[in-house]
Symmetry: C4
């Protein structure tokens, strides 16, 4: 497959992933949303089915949608290292596009929320996304774009992201999923989606399970750039953790695979 | 396959889709329902499994069940344009039948609800379906039949429906699902059902995700015609949005498919 | 396959179905249960996965587990009519065994609940199973065994059960599931389980979706016979509806299949 | 397959199972977790998808992950009895590792919880895991590691664990799943995961459904050894029930399989 085919497929697939994933965070955050306060089960399944949808659409390129997955697959030998930058570029661009699409889909809700006196008074109405005490510089809608920790502690947060991502990528590698960028089997993609749902339910509590560098960094950049009134800070101090942690986890999974299963 | 086979299959499948989808809205709306207030997770899975059931029953005709899907498949070349009106007709008739079946299934509940003084006093008891402030002319059971916006703004609502439908139809087209009206694979239909569940969780917040012209228009007509006491208005001012938005989304998905994946 | 093989397989499969289905009703009903008040989503998925488990275990005999399904399959010609009594007998015995197993599994909870002064004072603690106003003669744990209507009206309740069962059996027949008693495909059984979950979410509101004569009648007999203190009445006045309604629905689905899809 | 391959595969798979299963208990228990109080539906799906993830990763060795499953498969003749100790050893070591990983993932939450005056005053903040009245010697985080009964009664609790495990192992044996340690089919593993979710919803109410000796005993040992402040007792008086009950259930399922289905 040509580099441009990989790039286009990963861009579209990651855009859908971030659109739907960010969408479910928006859906439970905004008071004027039909899914307001629908809870963590909604978020975990929402992100799982976001992976499902994005992965089917991007099956042509193997549907990595995540640099941590790309790293794990490259270590396993599933793709040549020369293709890694192409995957990264498509994933990153897709995450930017997806975050903008969340904003367009929920444009009216963003406006109403960010001009709501209650929200501005500190009751940000978010459902389990960013704890204002832990993240005093995180604005009231940042949780729709990016993750944040419940208890802020760099080493601890990094460990959590590493563990969760290692499980994700190990499950993908042992499925033979995404191998060689040849596209994924239908059942395999369903399984990965449910693994992601499971990771959200089980290991998402402390940090909101970024487990994907571009899923966190791309929307954070969009949050910083969008012309939203009263949007507050983008919490750049935390931004490196959901990038570095997942990359380490992906590499660790690749290593475990080579040692224990290859 | 003959036109009458397509017509019958799409009619029955869409009737089941709208019966079960409208059914879950009824189930969470009525106080005297065992699923009262079961929340948005129930609605999102209810609609997803409504698609699952209708799509398996209509597998013979490819189980479009949705004019936006038919348009996308026609653009891709999956069916000849001459069959499009046959699909549309079956889908539309099925939606009418499905809405009547919801009424029959919940007949006692409709009666009790629409003669309940609390409901008539403005506490319409609906769970996240139609915001009375946003839809002053929407009656207290309209949300069981048709969608309505949380924040009423034509352009914004249209954009939301277009984005959500584009994702739906693009996922269907990239699955190779429904191609040529030859019937869908078992796994493919499951996946589409979960994509619909995911879209409900993630992008359903602002408008209630019609993402299907007949799913909204057919039941709205039935709402207008049924002899329900105190049923209130059918909100015809909004009716064009969940028709036009999904059709644009279906066409857009067809175009993206041709450009990026064909 | 021999009659005794069919009988044993259907008995075990239906016992598992009723054990797990009754179990989830017990789980949400009893205060001293970890799933107390877990809500309608828990019940709908609990019954769906009860079908899944029972159906896999009884795959050898086609996993009908439900006389309404047996009737529909016989009308379609999937099994000879001479085998119908064997299926019925296994299904009925299995339902009796399953209800006894629910009692054994939750023995401590039954005792605590039925000697709890609050429950005996009329606060029966049940979660959406039997409305005491609608069912004054239904005891405080009957909802764990059998269904009851939210609004008691024979014709209306019958119509609801007929519609829901017709959808169930039509979905099974169009899947080619259970044909000839040869055992079901793995995906097909998953789909039927999710159809049942969907029916619970969407059409279970008015009557609690028996959609299976033995699932309701068998446990009702066990309720009448078990030596439970303060168990109250078994609501025999309602008992015919979840038997007759599903049988009509199964036959109707068989007829629709023959006319529209055969 | 060599013994060391079995051992490594079962160790890693069981570690993932216990990490994710313990993780979801942690996620709903801790106030400073995004999934706090997410309820029993979250727990049941969390454990189901923990099985899914662990089982895919350990497919190479048949993914028993549970001595009760190993016993059932050995009785069926799926593996030679000489391999049983190897499976047991891997499963046990994996459970220890998994419990330690839960602690690492939620390290900050454990610290905050066990120094929270409200928790120490007896409001242990746990969501449906261990009833303090029933388990006066169970510490405030024991429910994250091991199961405990809602109503403490050895015979009753044993019966509940036996029934639930019998259903689990019978479903696995009739699937032909895990046979011969040759690895499991993709759909089969999904089904087992949903069976486990269903068992949690339906039969988990009284005892928290250990249904796996190492899943309970391993983490209980880790609970006893970890340097957690104010962690309280490990409830060793109950510890034998979730070991003996599931082993009996596994053997019973093997026997039923041989008699009824072989």
């Amino acid at each position: 497959m040509s580099s441009s085919d990989i790039f286009i497929s990963e861009t579209i697939g990651t855009a859908v992933l971030v659109l739907m994933g960010g969408g479910v965070c928006a859906a439970v955050t905004f008071k004027r949303s039909k899914a307001f306060n629908a809870g963590w089960v909604a978020i975990a399944f929402g992100w799982g089915f976001a992976v499902l949808t994005g992965a089917y659409i991007a099956a042509k390129s193997g549907a990595h949608l995540n640099p941590a997955v790309t790293v794990g697959i490259a270590i396993k030998g599933g793709i040549p290292w020369s293709e890694v930058p192409v995957y990264f570029a498509g994933e990153f661009l897709g995450a930017l596009i997806g975050a903008v699409l969340v904003w367009l889909t929920y444009y009216g809700q963003f406006r109403a929320h960010l001009t709501d006196p209650e929200v501005l008074a500190g009751h940000n109405g978010e459902e389990g996304m960013v704890d204002p005490a832990a993240a005093p510089k995180a604005g009231p809608v940042l949780g729709i774009f990016s993750t944040g920790p419940e208890i802020r502690h760099a080493v601890q947060n990094l460990v959590t992201e590493i563990i969760a991502t290692t499980v994700l990528v190990l499950a993908i590698l042992t499925l033979g999923l995404s191998d060689n960028g040849k596209g994924v089997g239908a059942i395999g993609t369903l399984l990965v989606a449910l693994v992601v749902t499971g990771l959200g339910l089980s290991l998402g509590g402390p940090t909101g399970y970024a487990i994907n560098p571009v899923r966190d960094l791309g929307p954070r950049i969009v949050h910083a750039l969008l012309p939203l009134p009263n949007k507050g800070g983008s919490d750049w101090g935390y931004a490196w953790i959901p990038v570095v942690g997942p990359l380490i986890g992906g590499a660790l999974a690749g290593g475990i695979y080579q040692v224990a299963f290859a």
